[in-house]
């Protein structure tokens, strides 16, 4: 039985707790928050044994095997380090750390202490993402991706998150180097990072404040981002948008032979075949094939729903299960450290480029040939 603790008792902690309860052979034994009232409300609702306001005390007294860190990102590095030094495996909510250098240190510490560490990139562990990975493993793309497109849509109408950020000039999200983007893009960036081959790809970032936000007097938050990534072999486009509709959570992969369109919001995986048909058959066969695939996806989702396996946060549960399994049975970690680091580095580079542009009072337009 793995003993689990949660540090940070805000909204994300609830999402973690819900999924942890669904996993056998683990138990939440302690919660911790600097704000005692927040810690106590979670303890009461979850019926947890211990409640702390100090992480060191939690580590000393509760002695958990795994600690989930669900605090704002600014504290991820310090808390992660404390937990690793105390001999705990750590699940850190995204974004992993504020800077890549902190990520490197944490990973080095985890390796040195032979402990497991992961980040909450749970979208990569939804049913659709797992199907995608299996298809790629089976060689469907016909080789490494030639090009990737990752779409990360966002809604500013979300009352519990976005409105909180927009309405509070002192919100912690605004104090991140990458602001709203930093708290949200790691899902979409990590989907790309998983398939990049170079550890230092070239990154071109262009970001701006949407006309909508400008119309309500917001000038600090960048909520539209376009990124081009090139690693020598593959290229990728990354799009973050608060205004684009539909709100996409999608990755498109184009291999040398075939392609895949994976929608983690709608939970669909569509195979796009590289072969072309003669004359008008090209207009008849692919649409028919897509229709069949969408129906198959529909059937699969309904089946999963009927089997009670289509929870809103099922990706989180899958990731946690794999992570806990890696701890309990000494298996490999679900997200490679290389991928975590690459995601952090790409994000650092994006914010560095946007930051330079912001200081200059303009959106960033990269020079030709700019590189990371």
């Amino acid at each position: 039985m793995l003993k689990v603790a949660i540090v940070g008792c805000g909204k994300v902690a609830d999402q973690h707790a819900e999924q942890i309860f669904r996993i056998p052979d683990c138990k939440i034994i302690a919660v911790c928050d600097r704000e005692e009232l927040m810690a106590k409300q979670l303890q009461e609702r979850l019926n947890v044994q211990f409640c702390f306001t100090d992480v060191q005390e939690l580590l000393d007294k509760a002695k958990p095997d795994v600690v989930h860190i669900t605090t704002p990102p600014q504290s991820h590095y310090t808390l992660g380090k404390l937990c690793l030094e105390a001999g705990c495996c750590v699940y850190i909510e995204k974004p992993f750390t504020v800077h890549a250098a902190e990520a490197e240190e944490l990973i080095a510490l985890a390796e040195q202490k032979n402990l497991k560490l992961t980040v909450g990139h749970d979208e990569q562990f939804t049913h659709a993402a797992m199907r995608m990975r299996q298809l790629i493993k089976d060689g469907y793309l016909g080789g490494a991706p030639v090009h990737l497109e990752s779409y990360n849509g966002y809604s500013l109408e979300d009352a519990s998150y976005a409105k909180g950020v927009l309405g509070d000039p002192d919100h912690w999200v605004r104090k991140l180097p990458g602001g709203l983007l930093q708290n949200n893009i790691s899902h979409g960036i990590s989907k790309v990072a998983e398939f990049l081959q170079s550890d230092s790809p070239t990154v071109f970032a262009y970001g701006f404040t949407s006309p909508f936000l400008r119309s309500i007097g917001e000038t600090e938050i960048i909520d539209e981002l376009r990124v081009i990534i090139h690693d020598g072999a593959s290229t990728a486009y990354f799009t973050f948008s608060s205004q684009m509709r539909p709100i996409l959570r999608q990755i498109r992969l184009y291999g040398p032979k075939n392609g895949l369109i994976v929608d983690t919001g709608q939970q669909t995986v569509i195979k796009t075949k590289g072969a072309q048909y003669k004359i008008h058959l090209e207009q008849f066969i692919p649409p028919w094939d897509y229709a069949k695939q969408y129906i198959a996806n529909f059937r699969e989702n309904v089946q999963k729903f009927l089997m009670a396996d289509l929870h809103m946060d099922h990706g989180k549960k899958n990731l946690m299960e794999l992570f806990y399994g890696s701890i309990a049975y000494s298996l490999s970690i679900p997200i490679s450290y290389r991928e975590i680091l690459l995601t952090s580095r790409i994000m650092d580079e994006i914010f560095s480029q946007l930051g330079s542009a912001h200081c200059a009072g303009q959106s960033y337009i990269p020079p030709v040939g700019a590189s990371a």
Binding site: G10, M38, Q41, A159, S160, D168
Partner: protein, 366 residues
């Protein structure tokens, strides 16, 4: 016209209410730009209170508050922008005040979000109150929904003596959970630091400024309005009447530690209210679902939610169903006896104003 209204208000405040404050004592109103908050400000100004401090969030839409303030141009009103999660902002707001009308609340749907913005904020405010020691009354605006009617029969009286819900997590209501915890916190501080307080639990507040029809009539789900209230009496209170009750609870002597439910006289049934709404407000299609049928559906939903490990969250459950649609009687007797309150705006006039607002704004009904 306005001057004579203020003079009448002053007379009422000073001579008929035996107030604990004088007209120029500093009064803090949190959530002062809200639906009820702005009416509380208006009522205080009408009573002649001349030293108001309105606390608002920096991002708040202040239209309704400015509209109120514009009608009292000569009165000094201090507007403080801040966040009650900040100790510093709380101290700025609470400094030297004699009465606090605490109406700011977390309306988020998540438990931690609602808790943080209702309970942690209230704690911060109370800490500031303890520090300054000038407070004569803390008016804690709670919610009618914190009561449990689980052990009451249909049609039985639900009043201030009834039991408080003990299983709010099961009821899956973050807002009510936070309000209940807020009540507990206020009581704890009152006992520990001798803070004089009064708690008000308004029923279903309606009036111009809020399009929402109370969920006690029914719910709009999957594009269809399910009428669930049937022949139940709805604990309606018109926003101006409710604001007056809140103000009286803040100034009247001899009511410390009391809890008041706020409902108007002559309560309509859900069916009557819905009929009037459709006739004078907006027309839409609704389907009547009998209580026992909906209760059974809630039972099934609850069981499914448990079996599926919350694949569908238990938002429909038996306790919630009972709270809102079982049907009870309500009383404002205590409010009338101890505060001398009576609904100044009768239902006919109140409903006219409300339905006109609904017609004019043409917003969604639920």
């Amino acid at each position: 016209m306005l001057t004579s209204s203020i003079v009448r208000g002053q007379y009422y405040l000073m001579h008929e209410n035996n107030p604990i404050i004088s007209l120029d004592d500093p009064i803090l109103i949190t959530g002062s730009n809200g639906f009820i908050g702005s009416r509380v400000v208006e009522t205080l100004l009408r009573y002649g209170c001349s030293n108001l401090r309105c606390f608002v969030r920096p991002s708040s839409n202040l239209t309704s508050l400015y509209t109120v303030l514009a009608t009292f141009p000569k009165v000094r009103v201090e507007l403080i922008q801040g966040n009650l999660l900040s100790h510093e902002d709380c101290e700025n707001a609470a400094k030297d005040v004699t009465v606090i009308f605490h109406m700011a609340a977390g309306i988020e749907k998540t438990f931690p979000g609602a808790f943080m913005n209702s309970v942690v904020t209230t704690r911060n405010l109370l800490d500031a109150v303890v520090r300054f020691g000038t407070l004569r009354r803390f008016v804690n605006v709670s919610s009618f929904a914190v009561y449990s009617n689980w052990n009451l029969k249909r049609g039985e009286l639900l009043d201030e003596t009834c039991e408080i819900e003990s299983r709010l997590v099961e009821r899956a209501e973050a807002y009510t959970f936070a309000k209940l915890k807020q009540d507990e916190l206020v009581l704890e501080y009152a006992q520990k630091y001798s803070i004089p307080y009064v708690t008000l639990r308004p029923g279903a507040v309606y009036g111009p400024g809020s399009h929402q029809m109370t969920g006690r009539v029914g719910i709009n789900t999957f594009g269809l309005f399910l009428h669930l209230g049937g022949s139940n009496r709805i604990p309606l209170t018109y926003v101006d009447n409710c604001a007056e009750a809140i103000v009286l609870a803040g100034i009247k002597q001899g009511v410390d530690g009391e809890v008041f439910n706020v409902v108007d006289d002559d309560l309509l049934t859900s069916r009557q209210f819905l009929r009037l709404y459709k006739k004078h407000g907006r027309r839409f299609r609704s389907i009547y679902v009998p209580y026992r049928l909906f209760y059974f559906c809630c039972y099934l939903w609850e069981k499914y939610s448990k079996w599926s490990q919350s694949q569908l969250l238990p938002v429909f459950n038996r306790r919630r169903c009972a709270t809102y649609w079982k049907g009870n009687r309500y009383s404002n007797q205590k409010l009338k006896e101890l505060l001398g309150w009576k609904p100044a705006v009768p239902f006919v006039e109140a409903s006219q104003r409300y339905f006109e607002y609904v017609r004019r704004t043409g917003e969604d009904h639920a």
